[in-house]
């Protein structure tokens, strides 16, 4: 018989090893899947993990694209991880991302065609406020009425999507767009455009913000009393209360922060890579960021690496579709496996295997 025996303390070794193990297992099982689809498995794995970085023909383009893709994921995941540390589950980052994009873009479009350096900073602030306000709804409902923030934040994603559809075919519709839905394109409005900080590197302001957020979160969690309160609330809620932590305040801080960061990510995306508000502007960053947060062990540096890895599988997956004709769904399966194996191997962080008869009780 094999038993799972709870470890007295989570294993530090396993905590560090499981993400790597999950990647290796995903490669093996994914390879088997690709082989079953009649595609060369090694070549497929190489195309996904190696080619975006080193392929002579594509790498020069896809390396900067890694940052573009990873930026919003990291920015959102950092915010989420702080809440997750405190046991506050914001599942609705996608909605906060959308609302941030809408409010930020609305401010930018209101100034159109004013050419002033102040426009873009105001848009960023408006984006953060929009996401923050959307995050405040589940926060206040939780504090006042004890509602479940998982459900409320998730449901608000669909409300945000309805808002997005409405404003892109109404309020924010491009007056010169011949009746088609979609706002003006910020790529053609310099004062409101989220441009690359260094041309050709993919390093736009959203990527900069993501790096700043990583540092900020690291300092918060390791050096600041509020970070200590957050961790304490998650690990020992009763002890936290005895230590004088106001649980309501933690809820409001965590949901507000993750909302604001998601809103900023939305604004950076709409004014940069995406360019305009459209009916289906959101492409799932808010949900993928949840995977990134867990893949990164809710640790700022881990999230940075996990965001880059996730971006790699996206871009490599696209290349694999293009070069090897892999079906799009197989790439999504491949990404899904990554989370699945991470959660599966996670068991060993808290439990260890014991062979033979268990000790007598």
């Amino acid at each position: 018989m094999i038993h799972l025996v709870k470890r007295p303390q989570p294993s530090r070794v396993w905590t560090a090893v499981t993400p790597l193990l999950a990647v290796v297992l995903t490669m093996i099982v994914g390879g088997i899947m690709f082989a079953a689809l009649g595609k060369p498995p090694l070549e497929a794995i190489r195309t996904i993990f190696w080619d975006p970085l080193f392929h002579p023909q594509f790498a020069a383009y896809s390396r900067p694209q890694l940052l573009v893709k990873a930026g919003p994921l990291i920015l959102i995941a950092i915010g989420l991880s702080i809440g997750f540390r405190a046991g506050i589950w914001n599942i609705g980052a996608e909605g906060q991302y959308i609302m941030g994009a809408i409010t930020g873009a609305a401010v930018g479009l209101a100034f159109y065609p004013l050419d002033s350096f102040i426009v873009f900073p105001l848009m960023v602030i408006a984006g953060a406020l929009g996401g923050w306000a959307w995050g405040m709804i589940p926060a206040l409902l939780k504090v006042k009425f004890g509602t479940n923030e998982i459900l409320v934040s998730l449901m608000l994603v669909y409300v945000a999507e309805a808002w997005l559809a409405s404003v892109s075919s109404g309020l924010l519709k491009n007056p010169e767009g011949r009746g088609f839905p979609g706002s003006r394109n910020f790529q053609q409005y310099d004062a409101g455009a989220n441009t690359e900080v260094i041309a050709g590197t993919g390093m736009h302001w959203g990527v900069v913000a993501a790096f700043v957020a990583v540092i900020f979160a690291y300092v918060l969690l390791t050096r600041h009393i509020r970070g200590f309160h957050i961790r304490l609330t998650g690990e020992a809620p009763r002890a936290a209360r005895f230590a004088g932590v106001n649980p309501g305040r933690v809820v409001i801080f965590c949901l507000g922060l993750s909302g604001a960061l998601a809103g900023m990510a939305g604004l950076f995306e709409v004014s940069g890579p995406a360019g305009q508000i459209t009916i289906d502007f959101n492409s799932g960053y808010g949900f993928t960021a949840i995977i990134v947060a867990f893949l990164g062990r809710l640790h700022p540096v881990g999230i940075l690496l996990a965001g880059l890895l996730m971006a790699l599988t996206y871009i490599g997956g696209e290349l694999a579709q293009l070069m090897l004709g892999l079906p799009g769904a197989s790439i999504q399966l491949f990404q899904g496996m990554l989370l699945f194996f991470l959660l599966a191997t996670d068991v060993f962080t808290n439990y260890r295997l014991q062979f033979g008869q268990g000790e007598t009780a």
Partner: protein
């Protein structure tokens, strides 16, 4: 040879290292799809067009495609990678790819781009679309004859001119044969979401609709109608012949193959030029699927006569007198709608109830 150097210079202009590896003897044709190739509707028919290109040209072409590409930033990357991989012509098959297509086309002046259903062109960007409203007229005629409850449900996708044109065209022709007909329009805000589409269909059927028209791409409304019984539907984008003879009594089929073959040939011959194509039943871009026996002989004959008249250019589905929804005149007796107004259509015709959402 020429192409290789040009591509390389495009790559250099982008500040990219590496060499483009376009092969000189084959033409590489790329497709960007918004849905999965197995959606049974919009993307499926573009995929059929790609397969037709492969079959027609054999070894002379190499085709690549990428499916389920989200509109926006992701599509720009997909197109760039395709161009970098040496594609000579790229078909971007969804409205939301418009600005990305223009952006990428600027960076690759020697690659030809073909954007479906948009209105922005450039020296190396053409646009193409089909006059689906011609097919909608025939649908409307059949629907108007077939409905017994006089209630027709319409599952619309997004409030864009193409969809509004379809609603107007179907309504005008249903009304012509059945003055009591009423349209209930549900906006699904999706092109492809079987669950949502099924919900919409069921809601419409519960409200008494016995004809369901759809401008969304899945077969879910067909399945819902089949289950309800006594409800008829029409295949959208693709024939959806699995549901014939009931509930699917006919269909609008997008037939992109002739256009794709034509444009790839033009690239091969060096005669490709930027242009706007808007073809209908006549040139075969819009097909009408077989009208089944569930439709009475005389209705079928009337529908086919209309189809022939449209194909021959003798009849335009938007021929006056037509008023706008608010009662203001749009087309005078015998006047035919101009393409500009049709392309940007953002109003209902008189008799339709409800508002176009915004």
């Amino acid at each position: 040879m020429n192409r290789r150097t040009l591509l390389a210079s495009a790559a250099l202009a982008l500040g990219l290292a590496g060499t483009a590896m376009a092969q000189d003897d084959t033409t590489k044709v790329g497709f960007i799809y918004v849905g999965p190739v197995g959606d049974g509707g919009w993307t499926y028919e573009h995929e059929q067009g790609r397969l037709a290109v492969e079959e027609h040209f054999g070894d002379k072409v190499e085709t690549v495609f990428q499916e389920s590409v989200p509109e926006g930033a992701d599509s720009e990357r997909a197109m760039t990678q395709m161009a970098l991989s040496g594609a000579d012509i790229i078909f971007t098959t969804s409205f939301g790819y418009m600005d990305p297509t223009i952006n990428v086309a600027k960076k690759f002046p020697d690659v030809k781009f073909e954007h479906a259903t948009g209105y922005k062109r450039a020296d190396n960007v053409s646009t193409y679309s089909a006059r689906f409203y011609e097919g909608r007229a025939i649908q409307g005629l059949i629907a108007g004859h077939m409905t017994e409850t006089n209630k027709i449900g319409y599952i619309a996708s997004f409030p864009i001119p193409e969809v509004i044109r379809g609603i107007n065209s179907a309504y005008l022709h249903a009304k012509e044969v059945n003055p009591d007909v009423e349209f209930s329009i549900v906006w699904a805000y999706t092109w492809f979401d079987p669950a949502k589409e099924a919900d919409a269909a069921n809601a419409l059927i519960e409200q008494g609709a016995d004809v369901i028209l759809q401008h969304t791409d899945s077969t879910a409304p067909q399945a819902a109608a089949e289950k309800a019984g006594n409800v008829i539907t029409f295949g959208q984008a693709s024939d959806m012949g699995d549901y014939a003879p009931m509930p699917r009594v006919s269909s609008i089929i997008d037939n992109w193959a002739p256009y794709y073959i034509d444009r790839v040939q033009a690239v091969m011959d060096g005669t490709w030029e930027s242009k706007d194509t808007w073809d209908g039943i006549g040139p075969g871009m819009v097909g009408i699927g077989e009208i089944t026996d569930a439709v009475p002989e005389e209705v079928k004959a009337e529908a086919l006569a209309m189809k022939d008249a449209i194909a021959a250019g003798e009849y335009h589905p938007f021929t006056g007198p037509i008023n706008k929804q608010d009662g203001t005149p749009w087309l005078a007796e015998g006047e035919v709608a101009d393409d500009g107004t049709l392309a940007g259509m953002d109003f209902y015709v008189e008799g339709l109830t409800g508002e176009i959402p915004n």
